[in-house]
Amino acid sequence: MSFLLSRVATLSITAAILLYAVPPLLKAEAWVALAILCAAAAGICYLYLSKRHVPAKYLVPGTVFLIVFQLVPLLYTFSIAFTNYGDGHRGSKEEAVAAIERESLKEIPGSPDYALTIAAKGGDLVFLLVDRETKAVQAGTADGLSNVEGAEVSLTGKILSAPGYEILPAGDRDAEVQALAVPTARGAIKSSGLSRAIEFEKTRAYAADCDCVRGEGKEWKASSETGYFVDAQGNNLLQGWQVNVGWSNFARALTDPNVNGHFFNVLIWNFVFSIASVFVTFVLGLSCALALHSPRMKGTKIYRALLVLPYAMPAFALMLVWRDMFNKDFGLINRVLGLDHDWMGTPASARLALILVNLWLGYPYMFLVATGALQAIPRELTEASGIDGASAWQSFRRVTLPLLLVALTPLLISSFAFNFNNFNLIRFVTNGGPYAVDNNLVGKTDLLITYTYRLAFEGSGGLLGFAAALSTFIFIIVAVTSAIAFRRTRAQEEVYS
């Protein structure tokens, strides 16, 4: 029965995706994507309608999620690491050219101020223009201006009716209104909103023959290396586009002294921070779990609820509260302890404070998982070791802990990976600080991820391509560390199982 239900669910999700995705794909004439989609849907239908291939039925959903949430972001990040994608280089060259030309439209000084009415004649869009001074009425099309007779003009200059023209309601044919430029001797009349038109001249224009932008007596050549139009002096126009930059983002991460000069110090603190965080949260969480696991303990339910409390509150708010508690003059900690210590102003205490905050935020999780794992260990084992003459510590050290670690090591590794990239904590509590007076690039509590963020986003706007390259390096570090740890766990499992 449940098997039938799950089949129905899977097939209907597939059908829903198909329904959602096919019309836009048809419209965009994306035949390849459409073919892939249909083939995939057919494959899934076959898989879940047939009685064979039972293991695949279980594997496919998980595989889909793995691909969607792990593999695709990873590959996408990796792919943009090869571009200069970021602020100033988000769009295509055509978009940049269009923006440059739009910016260069200058109102011709002394040109008439036209009141605009948008109309149509025989299906073609027409601008009905009233010169606000002379009250002369003209019709503007892509061919130029012509006079209009017998038009009824309102006080504001709007045309109420004109013989042979159909007045269009506001918002109609917006794209055409935008595109229409009525040629004049000096430039072109374009709409400025729906009630005004202005005579413009384009002071800069793209020229295909030299692949450059010309205007105002200057020339900016397109550079496919930087994604900018650059003049002879090396000054670029602001609007750029996305280009492929090969390995240069990776090369910069490895060769730029601003990046790699601090890399190892940051890396060492990063390891210290994440290992210390996992260790202290695990020790405290496990201690609490052991205390509450003891059969002599009373009121365990209340204690458990209280212990989970920090876990139940929003971490963001708690981080800010902790930051304020460490304030030198106004903070609770200095007041209670009667100290005058600048916690966040000295490297050692700022680091200690971070680990303390992380301990508070993290031990309920360790407590929860340790409680669960402890309950899975039969009490007979510790009782037996007790009969054999082992002390409580010995039976914990030799029996309980190894069995616990078999279950918990994967979680400890994932906790390590999480803390290795614990961006929020650093960002909210210290923001990388304190900084040495002669070094503004990297703070004493910066993790690789916060350091990367600052380099990529705070200095010069969003450098997403560069950030992606740095993220790739961080991914490699975390992946290698985790892989080594998992390998060791497997060895451990073989010993104890």
């Binding site: 597939t14 836009p24 965009a28 989609l37 794209a175 909103g193 304030n327 030198k328 003059d329 106004f330």
Partner: protein
């Protein structure tokens, strides 16, 4: 067995690619070519959405279109740039004028064409703030700058110089009436925006100026000799000096400390007025004073403006709304009523200033204000400048701090 797995994975991958291809497809939302969609979408932050609603509805009624206002709670600029790029952006966005540089370099907004008469109806500083690369890029509607709040029960007359201010604060602190000399947010990371008037008064600057009087991104002057002198002056006000500037006073506690009367002076903006009133402090507002014999203490001037998105689906309608509708005096006044910041339209200022004495004082304090540079390079300044500020406030060497900031800014600008 192996074949089955391969089949399953292929199917999943195929489905996913199909979905991805459809997700990245920009076409479906484009309306049919011959028919306008008669819809205007505006993005604003939560503070402004409520204020805008009535005008948007009225504009919609007048023009026979629907106007939708969408509230973007976090990081509006980033969301707008990304959304615009993907083709899911709005027609109009409302934001601070110092976004312009970044929005322009991402081809995200279009110039707004105002008539000479419209231009002259704005406060000159507001119009200058939204002018970028020689084009007006937005219709300004509100201005804001920081000023000096003082507790008039403790300090009856406004200090003429920073020295007077520090002396008055120190005397009150020695007498045990207050716990702080002055509340100016520095925080652990520094705050270039709030310290700027004092820094400028001491002769410091961020950029040189181009021939046209705009900030010159090629000439960063944070590490210049004049700026080093200014940082030295900040050091004298810092924790090892008079103690007027402290890293323990930050964004989270500066206003509340003043509102609870523990601080005789607060340097902040119009947004602080509400808390100060709630705290029951008798206050007055005046310009941030400069150093005796120093330059003027020019605060940064911030302007809120309406922008037309380059990828607007109803761009003509959006142009109409921005250029010809929100530049109207009644609309400006109503926006002020909903969110009391000094309006950018001179006529609207005249209409509201009788009822709001604080507004007049803020305007007077911002008279010499310096429009915050809108160039994208400005984003490289905040972090390093803040760190240098924190270092000197803590009593570190000013020259070293300024040089380090200069190095960091240049490194960031090099890209």
């Amino acid at each position: 067995m192996r074949a089955i797995r391969v089949l399953g994975v292929t199917a999943a991958l195929g489905m996913l690619l199909g979905a991805a291809a459809c997700g990245g497809d920009p076409a479906p939302s484009t309306p049919a070519k011959d028919k306008g969609n008669g819809k205007l979408e505006i993005w604003a932050d939560p503070k402004r959405t409520a204020a805008l609603k009535p005008f948007a509805d009225q504009f919609g009624k007048e023009n026979g279109v629907t106007v939708e206002i969408k509230e973007i709670a976090e990081n509006l600029q980033q969301v707008f740039v990304t959304g615009s790029q993907q083709g899911s952006g709005p027609d109009i966005v409302i934001g601070a004028h110092d976004w312009i540089g970044n929005l322009v370099q991402n081809s995200a907004i279009d110039p707004v064409n105002l008539t000479a008469a419209q231009k002259s109806s704005f406060e000159a500083a507001a119009l200058k703030a939204v002018t970028f690369n020689g084009q007006v890029y937005g219709a300004p509607y509100a201005m804001e700058n920081i000023a000096l709040f003082r507790n008039t029960e403790l300090v009856p007359t406004a200090p003429a110089t920073i020295e007077d201010l520090v002396k008055a604060g120190t005397d009150l602190k020695t007498a045990g009436k207050v716990s702080e000399i002055m509340c100016l947010q520095v925080g652990a990371a520094g705050d270039a925006y709030h310290i700027y008037p004092i820094f400028a008064s001491a002769g410091g600057s961020l950029f040189g100026t181009t021939a046209s009087g705009d900030p010159d991104p090629k000439n960063v002057t944070v590490g210049s000799a004049d700026s080093v002198k200014a940082f030295t002056k900040l050091k004298e006000l810092g924790e090892k000096g008079s103690g007027a500037l402290k890293t323990s006073i930050g964004n989270e506690n500066s206003i509340s400390t003043f509102a609870s009367k523990k601080c005789p002076f607060l340097i902040s903006g119009p947004w602080a007025t509400k808390d100060v009133k709630t705290g029951g402090v008798k206050y007055d507002i005046s310009a941030v004073p400069g150093f005796a014999g120093g330059k003027k203490a020019t605060p940064f001037l911030g302007v809120q403006a309406f922008y037309v998105a380059s990828k607007a689906k109803s761009k003509a309608l959006a142009q109409e709304f921005v250029a010809n509708y929100v530049t109207n005096k009644d609309v400006a006044k109503a926006l002020y009523d909903a969110d009391p910041r000094p309006p950018a339209l001179t006529a609207a200022i005249d209409a509201v200033k009788g009822a709001d004495p604080d507004l007049v004082k803020f305007l007077a304090a911002g008279k010499d204000g310096f429009p915050m540079p809108a160039i994208p390079e400005m984003s490289a300044i905040w972090g390093p400048f803040g760190n240098a500020e924190v270092a000197v406030v803590k009593g570190e060497d000013a020259a070293t701090a300024a040089a380090a900031a200069q190095t960091a800014i240049l490194a960031a600008l090099k890209k």
